[in-house]
């Protein structure tokens, strides 16, 4: 089959599998500063150093129709969840808001009532239906001064959650200097469709690659291999997903450009052995992976188009699960050369090897983004695994899970403050997220088995 035919088939199938494919998949409304001369100030808490206390009531519908009302309500709820996720603000609980008169515009906000609830900041927003969708305005007020410290406005479609995610990221950036993750996405493999692999006499459920918003909403299937498609990894620009696919019989590395519907093969030909676990270099130009092309599982790196393959490890043991350092100068991986699987680090040329763990069994290292310098991994605890985080500067290891089911395949959020992983604590294999201090556990998937998550950069 030619490349053109193959990609054309995938594009058609993607369109069929993805009801929203005819729309641009990403439609972040262009954010327009309300005033070109706007001076951004920040809300602070009281003098004790406590985090600022925010209130986020439902947005105000300026159009009378039900859709506008629904969008306004959803934006308020999702924005509250998004801001709460990073724990940079304290929140006045939503159930208290009912005691305060609802504003009908920016002109009748009852600041004094919010002040009575000790609010430092107040998010007020309006939603208006326009010909092309919605016009949304948001103002973060300093409740004491009654002045808007961070006003924004957006025009876009009916995706209420995307307005909220965008506002959350912008509020975190302007107020806390933090890169929020509200617009980031997860990917994972899933057998939820219950489709059988063809040409096998034993019952074998296929797995396909899915994506979801960071909070688990908008879960969508993005592959149609009808085979085993596993270990997805977001490209640094979050436009492509590299993964391990058995569509050729053996395991090979493929790249799906999910917003275009094209497919690329990184490992091609009859002599390439088995190939698993792609890992993008931070600049997106290279892919590290494990291959048996020379007879034994070793770490290789290739250009994105499959050219320039270079072997980085050379040991009769198993070398697998590569992950790049944020600068792209080092690669961490798993090797059993000491007798059991442990985490090692080498430079990107395969030199300067150093062993980082000496536990029972460690696998799936995932290197944190800067400025953190940490490696998260799965560590055997007896019957299963727990997620641990190694601080490379100090050697200190902190544990995030404690034997609730088995916990594997950690992946850092783009800001390094959260980790996605697979856990069986609720029964089947499901994707969870957890803050990198072990707090704020959140279940992302619930249907079928969902494993090997990755988080967009």
């Amino acid at each position: 089959m030619t490349r053109e035919l193959l990609t054309g088939t995938l594009a058609l199938a993607l369109l069929a599998a993805w009801p929203h494919a005819q729309q641009p998949p990403q439609q972040p409304p262009p954010a327009v500063p309300q005033q070109p001369s706007e001076i951004v100030t920040t809300i602070s808490g009281d003098s004790s150093g406590a985090p600022p206390r925010l209130a986020v009531p439902d947005f105000i519908p300026l159009s009378a129709d039900a859709e506008t009302a629904a969008v306004a309500k959803t934006i308020g709820e999702v924005l509250w969840d998004d801001l709460n996720y990073e724990r940079e603000f304290a929140f006045i609980p939503r159930d208290v808001y009912a005691t305060i008169p609802k504003a009908t515009s920016f002109n009748d906000v009852p600041f004094d009532r919010w002040r009575e609830l000790n609010a430092d900041g107040l998010v007020v927003g309006t939603v208006q239906k326009i010909a092309t969708g919605f016009h949304v305005e948001m103002r973060l007020y300093n409740v004491r001064t009654k002045q808007p410290v961070y006003p924004r406005q957006y025009d876009g479609g009916a995706n209420a959650r995307l307005y909220a995610h965008t506002m959350s990221d912008e509020i975190h950036k302007s107020q806390r200097g933090l890169n929020g993750v509200a617009r980031s996405k997860l990917t994972f493999d899933s057998d939820r469709d219950g489709e059988r692999m063809s040409n096998t006499v034993q019952t074998r459920n296929i797995k396909e690659i899915y994506i979801a918003d960071y909070d688990g909403e908008n879960q969508k299937r993005v592959t149609v291999g009808r085979t085993l498609n596993i270990t997805p990894r977001w490209s640094p620009d979050a436009r492509s997903i590299a993964y391990t696919s058995y569509r050729r019989g053996g395991a090979n590395i493929f790249i799906s450009n999910i917003f275009v519907g094209t497919l690329e093969e990184v490992t091609k030909g009859d002599k390439v052995g088995e190939n698993w676990l792609p890992a993008w270099s931070p600049d997106g130009s290279k892919v590290a992976f494990t291959s048996t092309r020379d007879g034994n599982p070793e770490i290789y790196v290739a250009n994105r188009d499959g050219s320039g393959v270079r072997r980085l490890t050379n040991h009769p043991g198993i070398d697998i699960s590569p992950t790049w350092s944020p600068s792209g100068t080092q690669i961490a991986f798993t090797s059993d050369r000491s007798g059991s699987p442990q985490i090692y680090v080498m430079d990107a040329a395969g030199l300067g090897l150093s062993k980082k763990t000496s536990e029972s069994y460690c696998d799936k290292p995932t290197w944190s983004p800067a400025p953190f310098n940490e490696i998260a991994y799965a560590s055997r605890n007896g019957p299963g695994y727990d997620i641990k985080v190694l601080d490379l500067a100090t050697g200190h290891v902190r544990q995030l899970t404690f034997g609730e089911g088995t916990n594997e395949s950690p992946a850092f959020a783009p800001n390094g403050r959260h980790i996605a992983f697979m856990s069986t604590r609720s029964g089947k294999s499901q994707v969870f997220t957890i803050a990198s201090d072990g707090k704020n556990l959140k279940q992302i998937t619930r249907s079928g088995n969902n494993e090997k998550p990755d988080w967009s950069k």
């Binding site: 096998t200 006499v201 034993q202 074998r204 797995k207 085993l228 596993i230 270990t231 391990t244 058995y246 019989g249 053996g250 395991a251 088995e274 698993w276 676990l277 494990t290 048996t292 007879g295 599982p297 198993i318 697998i320 699960s321 798993t334 059993d336 059991s340 699987p341 069994y361 696998d363 799936k364 799965a378 019957p383 299963g384 695994y385 088995t406 594997e408 395949s409 697979m422 494993e451 090997k452």
Partner: protein, 190 residues
């Protein structure tokens, strides 16, 4: 050979053929000779029919050959004559039991020299999903290397690892785990 022995031989042949597969199509086989006359008539048993030794000239192999040769790949793989090899936890060592199974599989592969076989490496879910991909490959490669050492051409033996993605038994106890740590043989061409 006595009549009694002939009956036993015949029974063994039939049982052997039946064991080759539940889906074995009916194959013409010689009827066993009539049973010996009842002892209730001991005085003058009728002379046994002449061809007492006839069943022994029916070779069992053609029957088995026909059953296997005529089966579709799916039917063949459903109750495969190539038996799986099982492994210990975290190990790709064949062990004596594994070698014995492979000795028998090698015999079949020599008897059916056109077969192309994929050896699938599988793991239980006590290893991680990622490392198990390599461990399963190790198991498949170990089985292939042993078969090659017995004279099976390497190009008839492909390997693939499914890690812990396709457990044979979805359970979470040692009984299930021990079935899942395996090298499974699939005949892909014959």
């Amino acid at each position: 050979m006595t009549v009694r022995q002939a009956v036993i031989v015949c029974a063994v042949v039939c049982a052997g053929a039946a064991a080759c597969g539940k889906k074995t199509p009916p194959v013409a086989r010689p009827m066993p000779p009539p049973p010996p006359a009842s002892s209730s008539n001991p005085a003058r048993p009728p002379a046994p029919p002449e061809p007492v030794n006839e069943p022994t000239i029916v070779p069992p192999e053609p029957v088995r050959d026909d059953a296997i040769s005529s089966a579709s790949l799916d039917d063949l793989n459903k109750n495969s004559p190539l038996k799986p090899v099982f492994f210990e936890l975290d190990s790709s060592d064949l062990g004596a039991a594994g070698q014995k199974v492979l000795d028998e599989n090698a015999g079949l592969l020599k008897r059916y020299p056109t077969w192309i076989v994929t050896i699938e490496g599988h793991c239980d879910d006590r290893g991680t999903a990622e490392y198990n991909l390599a461990l399963g490959e190790r198991r498949a490669i170990a089985a292939r290397a042993y078969l090659v050492s017995l004279g099976i051409p390497a190009d008839r033996l492909r390997t693939v690892s499914y890690g812990k993605e396709f457990p044979f038994d979805p359970g979470h106890d040692e009984a299930a785990y021990s079935k899942n740590r395996r090298a499974h043989f699939v005949i892909t061409a014959k």
